[in-house]
Every structure is written in structure tokens, then in C-alpha cells.
């Protein structure tokens, strides 16, 4: 019988972290940032069916980079957690902080359990408040730690240059059009500094809009509305924004279903 090679715990952990990071880096990056009326999620996603962003609860949205089946698992877990919480207590008792803690526990346990391979995902949990000061954005890397972010955050493959680009240019109180344009600009920068064009139909965009009259603030921005926002200059900006907040009757609460129709 052969004895297994000794691997120091430090080395084992470093290997696992390396493995997870490489997995995440293969995916495209995505951006979550605050704007005047809420939080916007922007990412490049050629697929119409496999979403990177989704609604968790009334004010809480979810974004993930990495392996689809793994983060989909976590997303459904999060929806269950939130719905069960809200049903048992009250809708107000479901918070992003609570949810981020649950995700951190899950990711942390999986990361350090030797029997399982670590999840190759990086999550963002965001909650829109009544005012911009009440907005919360948490980033959850693969190892189960929680980072409290402000303003803007980027995760995924090219995350570091994208987030430093955003950090320099993001300011509080941007309009949706400004925020969207900045995010797209950040995402179109390649690692070597050159820029490439991302067409609107390859973008996945969603917002948590605090001005929405409905209880559920999450809304996907698709099709014509997205194209209009991307073209929008200063004047069209306010119009388009009204469209997002007020004209939500058509797709209504069915944020996610609206995307498919």
C-alpha cells in the first residue's frame, strides 16, 4: 500500500484558491453600480436564457460570475431562503446582509471541505434602500469572505482593471444613462488596453429601481428600451429614465418573465 504524499494545509488551500480563481477568470466580467435611483447590473452575456442577474426578493438582486450550474444552485437557495424568511416573518425582515451571510457560510464551508471541489463563482448581493445612503452592495468571493462595497464593483474574469477604471470615474448621483454608459465603457476595455464594441443584444442589464411603485423593485431592461438608453444623450436620459420607473406596467412585476416574451 502506498502512502499519500504529504501536502501542507497552506499549500492545499492555495491550490484550491488558485483553482477557483482560474475558473472565475474564464468567465466575462460584470459590473454592479449605484446610480441616483437605485442599483444597476450590467454584464456581457450572449445567452438570453442563462441569466447572470436575477431577483431574489423585493429589494434584493443577485449577480454572479463563474460556473453557471454552481451559481444557479446558490441563486435558487437564496430565493428559497428569502421567500421562507418573508413568509415566516415579514417582507421587511429579508435583508441583503442576512442573505450575504448565508452565502458566505455556504461558500466558506464548500471551500474548506476537502471532499468537495471549491465553487468557481463570485457573487454580488445588492439591496436598494429608500435613499442612496441605504443602498448595500456585498461582494462574495469564492472562499466565503464578504466585502462591503460602495459605489461600484466588478467581478469575473477581467475584474481588477474594470473595477479600477470604474473607481476613478464613478461618482454619486449619476443618472441611469450615465451609469450604463460608464459600465459598458468599462466592460469593453480589453486586458491589453484596446477597446472593442459590445453590441446591445449581447448585454444583460437589470436594475433595482427604488422609484418603482411596485413592491418588487427588480426589473430587467431589454430590447428597445436598452437600445434607447444606450443611445440616450442628456435630454433623452430623463425621458428614458421615466420609462424605466413609471412605464413598468407592461412587464410589471414579472421582471424575469418579461425578458423572455
Amino acid at each position: 500500500m502506498s502512502t499519500p504524499f504529504y501536502v501542507s494545509p497552506q499549500q492545499a488551500m492555495a491550490d484550491r484558491a488558485e483553482y477557483a480563481r482560474k475558473g472565475i477568470a474564464r468567465g466575462r466580467s460584470l459590473v454592479v453600480m449605484q446610480y441616483a435611483d437605485g442599483i444597476v447590473f450590467v454584464g456581457e452575456n450572449p445567452s438570453r436564457a442563462l441569466h447572470k442577474f436575477s431577483e431574489i426578493y423585493d429589494r434584493i438582486g443577485f449577480a454572479a460570475a463563474g460556473k453557471y450550474n454552481e451559481y444557479e444552485n446558490l441563486r435558487i437557495g437564496g430565493v428559497r431562503y428569502a421567500d421562507l424568511r418573508g413568509y415566516t416573518y415579514d417582507r421587511d425582515d429579508v435583508t441583503a446582509r442576512g442573505l450575504a451571510n448565508v452565502y458566505a457560510q455556504t461558500l466558506g464551508t464548500i471551500f474548506s471541505s476537502a471532499a468537495e471541489k471549491p465553487y468557481e463563482v463570485e457573487l454580488v448581493v445588492a439591496e436598494v434602500g429608500e435613499t442612496p445612503e441605504g443602498d448595500q452592495i456585498y461582494r462574495l468571493p469564492h472562499d466565503g469572505s464578504i466585502v462591503d462595497e460602495h459605489g461600484s464593483v466588478a467581478v469575473g474574469g477581467n475584474a481588477e482593471p474594470v473595477s479600477s477604471f470604474l473607481e476613478q470615474r464613478h461618482r454619486d448621483g449619476m443618472t441611469l444613462v450615465e451609469a450604463l454608459k460608464l459600465a459598458v465603457q468599462a466592460l469593453s476595455r480589453d486586458t491589453n488596453g484596446s477597446e472593442r464594441e459590445i453590441p446591445a443584444d449581447r448585454l444583460e442589464v437589470a436594475v433595482l429601481d427604488r422609484t418603482r411603485p411596485q413592491q418588487r423593485k427588480f426589473k430587467r431592461i431589454v430590447g428597445r428600451q436598452l437600445a434607447r438608453l444606450l443611445e440616450g444623450d442628456g435630454t433623452a436620459a430623463s425621458e428614458a429614465e421615466e420609462e424605466t420607473s413609471g412605464g413598468s406596467g407592461d412587464s410589471g412585476d414579472s421582471g424575469s418573465s418579461g425578458a423572455e416574451k
Binding site: S54, D83, L84, G249
Partner: protein
């Protein structure tokens, strides 16, 4: 629901220990009516809850939006019914978030049917819940109504429906007043008329309360989604009905032949 059953079964309505023999006095909701019109459906309920021969609440809400395109009105034991609606709403929302699409209207109606059936034990003890479900079918592009019985039987109604203690009178009124080509305003007036007739002949159904400004709750569901009439709008309809009834206490009369 399955997840709930697995993890916290005590939260589900059907899993409770039944109370020992004996009648429980609990508030009951009374009359719910619904009618279709080209382009949608209206669902309305009176505001009274009774406990035996007492009025336990004057301004109870018995019509709830289930999701964007459907609403449910409840008659029967108020506590159980409100909980059932809450769970129903949760389930529709949960399905939508997990699957990314809404349940079909048929699917929603079937789900509610199962929930009513799980309450059969309680219903045998006198704590029945009999809702009325109405929604806009996006595929067929029309409003549809589903009525239920205590055993969970599900019946689709073609034009109008009523449930609760005053339903006999409300149904009679709608039978005489309903037409296929009602406009949205006419349909809302129709259901308020029907509720008035129910309140007229059934002691457990509340009529419009002008002194306290409590008027029936009316919900309109169309292609644009589910919308509850504001207090102002429903008071306007109720007052118009009341005004005419001062001259004709039995309401509009239909042609004899």
C-alpha cells in the same frame, strides 16, 4: 411548497392537528363576485366579516392580488383564508423567480385547488375556505374566472360567478344584468350592483357604508395587469348605485320577455 413541507411542515395549512370536537367561533368572510368583460375580468368583495351573529369587522379586505395578472377573493373562515392566500402569493412569486417565467393561469388555478383540498379536514369541522380566482390569460387574451368547492373541485365559469353566503342573491342579480359586451366601467358597476343585492338579502354581507366611507373592494384585471380601484373610484360607483336605489330600491329591472 414542497420545500416548505420538507423543512418547516408546521407552517403549512393542511398539516395541523385538528381541534377536538366542538364548533369554533371564528370570523367568516362573506360575499365575493366576479364578472368577465371583453378584455378582462373584475373581482369584487364586500367588506364585512361576521362571527356568528356578530359583525367582527366592517372594513375587512377579502380581495387580494395573487400576482401581476390574477387576483383571489376569499369567502369562509377569515384566518385560514388569509393564510392560504399568503401562501398562494408566495408560491406564484417563488415559481416565477426560480423558473424565470410565470405559471400559466391554469397552473395557478390548479395550485389553488390543491391548497383548498388540503384544508378539507378543517372544512369538515366548519372552518371552510372557498375562494374565487380570476385572472387575465395572456395566451388566450381574455379574462377567466375559476370557482371552487370545499373539496378542491375547480370549475371554470364562463361569464360571472359568486361565492360566499350572499352568493345566491349576487348570482341572481348578475344573471339579470350581465351582458357579453360590457365595458370595464359597466362591469365594475355590475359587480357593485350584485354586492348590493347580496347585502340586501343576506345579513352577513355588508352593503356600502356611507357614514364610515367603507365601499366594496373592486379589482380589475386586464392585459395591463391587476389594478385595485382607489377608494375614490369605488365610492363613486357605490354612490351612483345608491343614488338610483333611492328611487328604485330593488335596483334596475330587466325586461319581462
Amino acid at each position: 411548497m414542497d420545500f416548505l413541507a420538507e423543512h418547516q411542515p408546521e407552517l403549512l395549512p393542511g398539516k395541523r392537528q385538528l381541534p377536538a370536537q366542538g364548533v369554533i367561533e371564528a370570523p367568516h368572510g362573506t360575499t365575493i363576485v366576479a364578472a368577465t368583460f371583453p378584455g378582462g375580468v373584475v373581482l369584487a368583495g364586500d367588506r364585512r366579516a361576521t362571527m356568528g351573529n356578530l359583525i367582527s369587522q366592517r372594513d375587512m379586505e377579502k380581495v387580494f392580488p395573487a400576482d401581476e395578472y390574477s387576483a383571489v377573493g376569499i369567502a369562509g373562515t377569515a384566518g385560514l383564508a388569509v393564510e392560504m392566500v399568503k401562501l398562494f402569493q408566495l408560491e406564484l412569486e417563488h415559481f416565477e423567480k426560480v423558473e424565470g417565467v410565470q405559471l400559466s393561469l391554469e397552473g395557478k388555478a390548479n395550485r389553488l385547488s390543491t391548497m383548498i383540498r388540503s384544508n378539507l379536514g378543517m372544512a369538515m369541522q366548519g372552518l371552510a375556505v372557498v375562494p374565487l380566482f380570476a385572472g387575465y390569460d395572456l395566451d388566450r387574451e381574455k379574462g377567466r374566472i375559476f370557482s371552487y368547492d370545499v373539496t378542491g373541485g375547480r370549475f371554470e365559469e364562463r361569464a360571472f360567478a359568486a361565492t360566499g353566503s350572499g352568493s345566491l342573491f349576487a348570482r341572481g342579480a348578475m344573471k339579470k344584468l350581465f351582458r357579453e359586451d360590457l365595458s370595464e366601467e359597466q362591469a365594475t358597476t355590475l359587480v357593485v350592483q350584485a354586492l348590493y343585492d347580496a347585502a340586501d338579502d343576506d345579513s352577513a354581507t355588508g352593503g356600502p357604508d356611507v357614514a364610515r366611507r367603507i365601499y366594496p373592494l373592486v379589482t380589475v384585471i386586464t392585459e395591463e395587469g391587476c389594478r385595485r380601484l382607489t377608494d375614490g373610484e369605488s365610492s363613486e360607483i357605490a354612490r351612483a348605485v345608491l343614488e338610483r336605489r333611492l328611487e328604485q330600491p330593488d335596483g334596475p329591472s330587466a325586461a319581462l320577455l
